[in-house]
């Protein structure tokens, strides 16, 4: 979330799309209702009439997987009807920047310029800005890079800063505003209506209502979740929403923003933590063989020419210092080479790991409370692949479908040689530690009871394993033991592994005297500071009580709310730096005056900043040893090198979101000549077994219900929840039910090339038969919480049906839109 849950109460218009927020994030209902009471309007766009739709003012159905068409249409509507926030767009986005003259989009082929057939990806040269000049990096004593000359800082070459050409009138045909506008000319109401299956009247109502937030003093927010991301163009779905919010000037405002409602209690934390192939903790690039063969190339390529990331080396070196401790020195590149480097031969993201297990390349598998045998796409294939593993270690509170994959109904245990260890994990309240919610609030959980029986906290399990492995390598040697033996592992307090010691490491400290740091601004690239997670610096920084979380920001329980915008600055701590609304500079105009004085996050009084939130921009600078206010400028997005919001980008799979059809779609692409995004991942894998619309004419989407959660391992473990929603079902529109002779409650078979499941039918007017490009398309829905492994509630695995193709940026599978057929069982 760019904002946070309480901030929803500041909105004028809500657009819930690709999210079922009152079911999947029930507490959001509280804050939306608060705004609703003040007169806010709530729009829900969803393939199903959900419980969220029941609460909303306006509901529109939509064919799953057509969000870019929907938002493209909205962009066109906003521009055609002059609803965009002009001053905002001109100053805080790259609308005025002139694009490379080589840029092109071919509607016939559906391809942007720059396609490389060899790499099956785009080259970005034609997507970039026209550059006026490049200002070399300033490492002089007063320059931005002066610190690079200090002792202990590794040598590297800071990049020069490009100055792009602009046309502030936005009239130059080569400026991004004009190219963007031209790109969406095709997305007229009739076309979008035909693609999405939404009536023109409803489309207009939704566009007009949400477009009204383009007024400078209005704030509109978009709540989204996996309904946007689980597509092979999920990142572009998200971009499309971001672009709309930039056009309407909604990013950075209290009650505005683009709010990803994240699905897990600490998925924000696990994403922050770099429990992902390509990241280190704090969103820094993980070393790769091809791009970053050594520390210097990492620093050269990753250091930004402008904005905050000019400081990246400080963050990375501090991280290496926390990783390897005193073993990391300037001489050994702070241990850079001990970090494993990604190769380029194999993709190793989740979906690919099953391909690699299937070929025997991956032999061992650790699972930390995740259940891919139930939850990954094409689970049947995943389970077959798992059966080729040598060993698996599952750490969980219950026997999940993954821990017991060998007793899946479609497998024979006798033929599976995988050894599976199931280690009992402690419950969240049987251990202490931090969780990060969707609003980036870090909160401490105290240990309330001892773990039941022999269950143990995950950290303790890590500790036991690590110490045993270190012992083995010390005693026996083996494949390069150095990375193992040089790791700093000193998180004991009173002789026992302790989350408080880890919290200190995450926060960061001056190595000399282990003084906790209150801001990442104090991190150094010279090896004198250590911080595992620079963005958390400050959350656990009270040096007076380092062992008492209740005395740390993470345990803060202050109820003050300065400014009355439900920011609750004194309650817990939000990364970064306790900032509650990201990009809050954009809540005020170029002169620093809030667009809406009743929603003031930051405010330039003429000689100083009077802020209710922690500034997300350079608000002060140390001049002659004293902090001095920095007068307003238009650098509202200073995490980007160009420090502005980007209507068009020069990376990823598309410079501007373009509609493509889902991998398995019930119709042809009506907007361009290409069916799927050219960069769709894994579509060529044998395991995918694409089905055609002739074989499988029914469009399906998958989702959650409020009573259950994710793979159901926890909620199917709670009898009250099982009782409240005991069985899996398929929601079927009445017309389809009539055609297939299906009655409410009938057992049905839902199937495609990948799998076949039996579920009860729930015949309902809440699902729709849509008119898509002139043809009727039935859309059904499947909740995905069931599997065979529960003492209380079992069902077939819905994800057996989902295609294991994914997005080229996020590698997230396309769970949300594919094809099946249905019959009465």
């Amino acid at each position: 979330m760019t904002g946070h849950y309480c901030d929803l109460s500041n909105s004028d218009v809500f657009l819930t799309i690709g999210s079922n927020n009152v079911e999947c994030h029930p507490v959001s209902a509280k804050w939306v209702q608060k705004a609703h009471d003040k007169g806010a309007t709530w729009i829900v766009v969803d393939p199903r009439f959900t419980r969220t739709a029941a609460c909303a003012d306006i509901y529109s159905p939509i064919r799953a997987g057509t969000d870019i068409a929907f938002f493209g249409g909205m962009a066109k509507y906003i521009l055609d009807n002059d609803l965009w926030q002009k001053e905002y767009v001109r100053n805080y986005t790259n609308a005025a920047y002139l694009l490379d003259p080589g840029f092109d989009f071919d509607v016939k082929t559906g391809m942007f310029s720059g396609w490389n057939e060899q790499t099956k990806s785009y080259e970005f040269s034609t997507w970039g800005y026209q550059v006026d000049e490049t200002i070399p990096a300033d490492a002089s004593p007063t320059g931005a890079f002066a610190w690079t000359t200090e002792d202990g800082v590794p040598e590297f070459t800071p990049p020069g800063n490009k100055v792009p050409k602009k046309d502030m009138s936005l009239e130059d045909p080569q400026c991004i505003f004009q190219i963007f506008k031209k790109h969406y000319e095709r997305y007229d109401l009739d076309t979008v209506s035909a693609v999405c299956g939404i009536s023109v009247e409803t489309l207009e109502l939704v566009y007009k209502t949400f477009g009204s937030t383009g007024a400078p003093d209005k704030a509109g927010t978009i709540m989204y979740a996996l309904g946007q991301t689980q597509h092979h163009y999920g990142v572009q779905n998200t971009r499309a929403m971001g672009v709309i919010q930039l056009l309407l000037g909604n990013i950075g405002l209290a009650g505005g923003g683009l709010n990803a409602l994240r699905g897990e209690p600490n998925v924000q934390g696990s994403t922050d933590m770099g429990l992902l192939v390509h990241n280190t903790p704090g969103y820094l690039a993980w070393p790769t063989v091809a791009k970053y063969p050594n520390l210097r190339t990492w620093l050269d390529l990753e250091t930004s020419s402008g904005g905050f990331y000019t400081n990246k080396p400080k963050l990375f070196i501090s991280q290496l210092k926390e990783w390897f401790g005193s073993n990391a020195t300037l001489q050994n590149d702070y241990g850079y080479d001990w970090l494993p480097k990604l190769g380029s031969d194999n993709d190793v993201t989740t979906m690919s790991t099953f391909e690699l297990m299937n070929t025997g390349f991956i032999k061992g598998y650790f699972l930390w409370g995740q259940n891919p045998a139930q939850s990954t796409a094409n689970t049947k294939f995943a389970r077959e692949a798992m059966s080729k593993l040598d060993w698996m270690v599952a750490i969980d509170i219950v026997e999940t479908e993954t821990a017991s994959f060998w007793r899946a109904p479609d497998l024979d245990p006798a033929t599976i040689d995988t050894e599976v260890f199931l280690l009992p994990a402690a419950l969240p309240f049987e251990k202490a530690g931090t969780v990060v919610n969707s609003g980036r609030w870090l909160q401490w959980r105290y240990k309330a009871v001892e773990p039941f029986d022999q269950a143990k906290p995950d950290l303790e399990i890590c500790d036991l394993l690590w110490k045993e492995i270190v012992k083995l390598y010390k005693d026996e040697g083996g494949a390069n033991p150095e990375p193992i033996l040089n790791i700093k592992w000193d998180y004991d307090i009173d002789g026992k592994i302790d989350p408080r010691a880890v919290a200190q490491a995450l926060n960061g400290y001056v190595i000399e005297g282990k003084k906790l740091l209150t801001t990442f601004g104090d991190l150094k690239a010279d090896g004198s500071t250590a911080s595992a997670m620079w963005i958390y610096a400050g959350f656990y920084a009270n040096n007076d009580a380092p062992l008492d979380p209740s005395e740390q920001k993470v345990g803060a329980r202050g109820r003050e709310d300065k400014g009355g915008l439900a920011l609750f600055q004194q309650w817990s701590w939000a990364w970064p730096l306790n900032r509650r609304v990201l990009y809050n500079r954009a809540s005020a105009d170029v002169d620093g005056k809030p667009w809406d004085s009743s929603r003031s996050l930051v405010n330039w009084t003429g000689d100083a900043w009077d802020n209710n939130d922690v500034a997300d921009f350079v608000a002060s600078r140390v001049v002659d040893g004293a902090p001095t206010p920095v007068a307003p400028n238009n650098n509202a997005f200073f995490m980007n090198w160009d420090q502005i919001g980007r209507l068009m980008i020069h990376s990823l799979d598309m410079p501007v979101p373009e509609h493509y059809e889902p991998f398995e779609s019930p119709t042809d692409n009506a907007l361009n000549g290409r069916e799927n995004s050219p960069m769709i991942r894994f579509a060529d894998k044998e395991s995918v077994k694409k089905g055609t619309r002739e074989e499988y004419p029914i469009a399906v989407t998958t989702y959650s219900v409020v009573e259950h959660w994710q793979s159901g391992s926890q909620t199917r473990h709670c009898p009250a929840l099982v009782e409240a929603m005991p069985h899996q079902f398929v929601e079927v529109p009445e017309k389809l039910a009539e055609e297939r002779g299906i009655k409410n409650g009938d057992l049905c078979r839902v199937f495609n090339n990948r799998g076949s499941i039996h579920v009860h039918a729930f015949v309902t007017p809440r699902l729709h038969t849509l008119l898509i490009n002139g043809k009727e398309v039935h859309q059904i829905g499947l909740p995905h919480h069931w599997g065979w492994a529960s003492m209380y509630s079992t069902g077939d695995v819905v994800n057996d049906l989902a295609p294991n193709v994914g997005d080229p940026g996020s590698y997230i599978p396309e769970y949300k839109a594919f094809l099946v057929d249905i019959e009465k069982a």
Binding site: A29, R51, C55, A56, V705, P719, A720, V722, G745
Partner: protein, 289 residues
Amino acid sequence: MAKLAFYFDSSRCSACKGCQAACKTWNSLPSPLGQDENPFTGSYQSPLDLNGDTRLLISFSEVAGGSKGVEWSFGRRSCFHCTNAGCVQVCPSGALAHDEETGMVRVTEDKCIGCQYCKYSCPFNVPRHYGYNDKINKCTSCLDRVSHDRQPACVKTCQSETLMFGSRDELLAKANERVAKLQEQGFERAAVYGGNELGGLGLIVVAHHGIESLSLPANPRISGMVNLLDILKPLAGLGAAAVLAGLGVSFLTGIGYERHKLRYDEETHDIIDDETNEVLAHFDFDEEE
């Protein structure tokens, strides 16, 4: 009349069932533990109705129509804590009674004798019973919590501020205000329920799609038979007293009465007073034969 009351606003309810679960956990009510023991109900409503282990559930009803294409209404199915409570009226053991302080229908489980008359006297069919001895299971309005200055478990857990608990007068006023606002917003059928029904209910409902959408009876009444039952009690006493009085008089008049012995003479076919030898009756058996 209830001094305190619950308040339920269907226009805010998101049917998260937090109340349903909180009621179970706070009150230590079990749910089935058998594998797939709960049936598929063909609805989001589960269990389909209250039972011996379920005092509160969220009801669902969906009909096509309205500006959004579907009207999906969520309701609270639980005790209404009626002022004129059929259950209290019939409860023979004092297990169900109005709590003096709050006016809610309180449950003293220990006193319940399992007769289940309450179940059949409730116009809302709310009381249920559990266990081998059919103990009452019904919303207690968490009086244990209330007496410790806590909101009932369902109210405490409600996130969308759909449920409230407090002064009945205030909540009724709030409900009327809310309905006026909803009607302004185009919910023409919006209505308050519970204001006057059965002397005023301890659960005030705001039904934004109308009270039919929540299957609330338009004019709940305690069955006439239940009232009749009440009349029968004094009637029984009266009857017994009258009979006894009459018999008493009879007894007194009969005291000391020594009947003359009678005998039958087969020869003459006569009944004869043994003391006076008077023939009291004569039978003509032969003639008849």
